[in-house]
């Protein structure tokens, strides 16, 4: 399992490297600052990190032979993972339809992308502009690298949820005993790994993407 995780490190390492190489290289918008919603993503990040804690509690319960607690914590881990995925689906959808609204008379402070839209659509006589300027994998380099990186992370979380549910199902159908904790240990290792990768993605992609100076 450790060997597999080492291999997976290279996998995400390459994806993140690609993202960083192409950071700020997009020719057209939307750019990170236009689409990222840090408070929302922080909530989903918090949920995912808490799921790591419930994973630990589940493992500890199994080691002590408390099967019921083990099942409860394992189920909550899977539920939190699924919640994270729901957030991601919601977020992807939001990005894809990204709604732009500009007051053409008094535009105020606009981002670079909004300025582009302002120049294009706020022609003479137009007072107010509204429209959908979504980000898809085909839009620009940011969309390409962002969706691929986070999409593969989402796929890993999905696999993790299925795996955890599989262990849960197994424990109901065939029973599980403390001496079989390796079954859970491997799933837990994988789960923590996926969480750690998310911490890196959240920092490098989301936080660095929004704050100036990076």
């Amino acid at each position: 399992m450790w060997v597999f995780l080492g291999s997976d490190c290279m996998f995400f390492g390459t994806l993140i490297a690609t993202y960083l190489v192409y950071k700020n290289k997009s020719i057209v918008g939307p750019y990170p600052i236009d689409v990222f919603d840090i408070p929302t993503t922080s909530v989903s990040t918090f949920v995912l990190l808490m799921s790591s804690m419930s994973m630990v509690l589940s493992y500890a319960a199994l080691r002590r032979g408390r099967i019921k607690a083990f099942r409860i914590w394992l189920a909550s881990t899977a539920i939190m993972g699924a919640t994270f995925l729901a957030f991601q689906v919601f977020e992807f959808r939001e990005f894809a339809v990204h709604h732009v609204e500009i007051d053409c008379v008094e535009p105020g402070k606009l981002t670079e992308f909004e300025t582009d839209i302002f120049n294009e659509f706020c022609t003479e006589g137009v007072e107010h502009y509204e429209g959908s300027h979504g980000l898809t994998p085909a839009t620009n380099l940011f969309g390409t690298t962002f969706f691929t990186l986070t999409g593969f992370h989402g796929a890993h979380v999905t696999l993790g949820v299925i795996w955890l549910l599989g262990v849960l199902l197994y424990s109901f159908k065939w029973g599980i005993t403390p001496d079989r904790d390796l079954d859970l240990d491997l799933a837990a290792l994988y789960w923590h790994f996926v969480d750690i990768v998310w911490i890196i993605i959240f920092t490098v992609v989301y936080l660095f993407g929004v704050f100036e100076g990076f």
Binding site: G6, S7, Y22, P137, L141, T148
Partner: protein, 614 residues
């Protein structure tokens, strides 16, 4: 244990074609790997032959420029991914469990899956010849040249799907061998008592596990670009034309060592055996293998000296490239030190091993020549590079692998490969190899570029091109003789005992061919070269006969064969095909693979009624 009710009963065929399809015996999988890879090696050879015929004289038009591009792409991809790597894998499979005193690899069904997936990838690649043209962008497939805009046909699609599938196979195999070598060694076999071939397999597997994800991501990016319109390599959207080169060579250079380290391992077994001496400086040879594996990660940009990365990057990569010659040189000196003062027995495997040392030195020296960025600027993309790579891959890897075949053939089949024929074949291949590839040094320094389908008269390249093509004839005669002799010897060659070469490592302590369970009793290891010292340490009467009594094996419990690994591989093949042509077919392939994985994971290692007794 509960078995889920699945329509297929557990396969039980002891012989026949189904027994091969469902086998999970590492020895049989090794043979499958070897035979398949050798056939694919010959197809790659035919592709090369066509190119050499085209280039034999100036301004010929035997194959068109388009076909020529496809030929060199397929030749490179075939030889690297479908011939040398799986031939190495054949030896890993057959030899490693025997060398470490184990009954099988750690995950036997995963091992079968690796083989079938490798076969699926090979079929995928070769299918392209019949379904709209082979890939044509070189084995390195530089994007954006491979992008949809410049390469609209399906050739590149086949190439990238095939490499993805082969990557899955290689990764599965590498995980398997790392776990096997770390966990399944016989009692007493510490790491520093491991045979060199096992050591080099371990290093190779670690390289594979770390290098393949990088090419996987690069291929995924290319695939998304081609299938879903993303912009990874679309320069109009601001993409970097150098990204692919970096990703490819971050994988590609460790890949070079993935190709050569098994060869070094094989030679490290053959030379001590036929010199009747322990390997000179064992710890240093192990260490230099590990250092090669480590430094192999720091040299990738020497493939990109002419890209314009700047003098600092070029100097750093030139320095690391020169540094990697040191551990390689250390190994060569240790081989010579092993032979020095030994009573050398010039049997065919030994000839190949010495041929390896000789040719690999030449290839290594030209390698050091273009490690200097300044001189590489002259040599880049010329036949000089072709000469170099063939001296290290043909003169290096292939010579060692052929030597390995002669060395382990008695163990695999219980019969010797014909010795007289072997000696003649060796000299034909050795001479043919030099006639073919040595003139390419001159051609390259004379400025003949790679990847051209023809050249004008009067460039001064006519003579050496004709000579090189003549050399290919020698190679083909030699390989044909080898093939014939291998088939004949397999059927009715001279019988070999369990220990025909007076071997040093554990695989020679059992019968040839080994029984299905390998070892009647798992041996306890006291020494490096344990079988050798067992033979020497004990009084002649007490030396165990290689092969044991052969009567105590009936109670040994082995995992049972399975259909599912092959089913998952078929799913991958269908899925890959579907992604190129039709999404519905891809879904079917995915479904087949999922069913296979599901059935596999709920299939007990042994049927309960059978397993309960033990």
């Amino acid at each position: 244990m509960t078995t889920l009710a699945l329509p297929l009963p557990r396969p039980t065929h002891p012989t026949g074609i189904w027994s091969w399809i469902t086998t999970i015996d590492h020895k049989r999988i090794g043979i499958l790997y070897g035979v398949t890879a050798f056939i694919l090696f010959l197809t790659g050879g035919v592709e090369a032959l066509l190119m050499r015929v085209q280039l034999a004289a100036p301004e010929q038009d035997i194959v068109s420029a388009e076909v020529f591009n496809q030929l060199f792409t397929m030749h490179g991809t075939t030889m690297i991914f479908l011939a040398i790597m799986p031939l190495g894998a054949a030896f890993f499979n057959f030899v490693i469990p025997l060398q470490i005193g184990a009954r099988d690899v750690a995950f036997p069904r995963l091992n079968a899956f690796s083989y079938w997936t490798f076969l699926a990838g090979a079929i995928m690649l070769k299918l392209s010849w019949f379904l709209g043209g082979a890939p044509n962008a070189g084995w390195f497939g530089y994007a954006p040249l491979t992008g949809e805009a410049y390469n609209p046909g399906h050739g590149i699609d086949f190439w990238m799907m095939s490499l993805q599938i082969l990557g899955i196979a290689s990764l599965a195999a590498a995980f398997n061998f790392i776990v096997t070598i770390i966990n399944m060694r016989a009692p007493g076999m510490t790491l520093m008592r491991m045979p060199l071939f096992t050591w080099m397999t371990l290093v190779t597997s670690i390289l594979l596990v770390l290098a393949f994800p990088v090419i996987t991501v690069a291929l995924i990016e290319l695939m998304f670009d081609r299938f879903y319109g993303t912009n990874f390599f679309v320069t109009q959207a601001g993409a970097s034309p150098v990204l692919w080169q970096h990703l490819f060579w971050v994988f590609g250079h460790p890949e070079v060592y993935i190709l050569i380290l098994p060869a070094l391992g094989i030679v490290s077994e053959i030379i001590p055996t036929f010199s009747k001496k322990p390997l000179f400086g064992y710890p240093v040879v192990v260490l230099s293998g590990v250092i090669i594996g480590f430094l192999g990660w720091m040299v990738w940009s020497h493939h990109m000296f002419t890209v314009g990365l700047g003098p600092v990057a070029n100097s750093v990569f030139a320095a690391t490239t020169m540094a990697i010659a040191v551990p390689t040189g250390v190994k060569i000196f240790n081989y010579m030190g092993t032979m020095w003062g030994g009573s050398i027995d010039f049997k065919t495997p030994m000839l190949y091993a010495i041929g390896f040392v000789f040719l690999f030195i030449i290839g290594g020296l030209s390698g050091v020549m273009h490690s200097s960025a300044a001189s590489d600027a002259q040599q880049q993309d010329t036949y000089f590079i072709i000469a170099h790579i063939h001296y290290v891959l043909f003169g290096g890897s292939i010579m060692a692998l052929l030597g390995g075949i002669y060395y382990w053939f008695p163990k695999i089949t219980g019969r010797f490969l014909d010795e007289k024929m072997g000696q003649i074949t060796f000299w034909i291949i050795f001479i043919g190899m030099n006639i073919t590839f040595f003139p390419m040094h001159f051609l390259g320094l004379d400025g003949m570029p790679r990847r051209i389908n023809t050249y004008p008269d009067g460039m001064g390249w006519d003579l050496w091109n004709a000579v090189a093509t003549a050399g290919v004839v020698f190679l083909f005669v030699g390989l044909a003789m080898f093939t014939v002799s291998a088939i004949r010897s397999w059927r009715n060659g001279k019988r070999a005992s369990g220990d025909p070469w007076d071997g040093r490592t554990l695989e020679w302590s059992i019968a040839s061919p080994p029984p299905e369970y390998n070892f009647e009793e798992i041996p306890t290891v006291h020494d490096r070269d344990d079988w050798w010292s067992t033979k020497r340490r004990r009084a002649p009467a007490a030396v165990p006969v290689a092969g044991g009594s052969g009567e105590n094996g009936h109670d040994i419990h082995l995992p049972q064969p399975s259909y599912w690994p092959a089913v998952v591989s078929i799913g991958l093949l269908v899925g890959g095909y579907g992604l190129i042509f039709n999404v519905a077919v891809a879904a079917i392939g995915g479904a087949i693979a999922m069913i296979g994985i599901y059935a596999w994971s709920f299939e007990p290692v042994n049927e309960p009624d059978d397993g309960a007794a033990h």
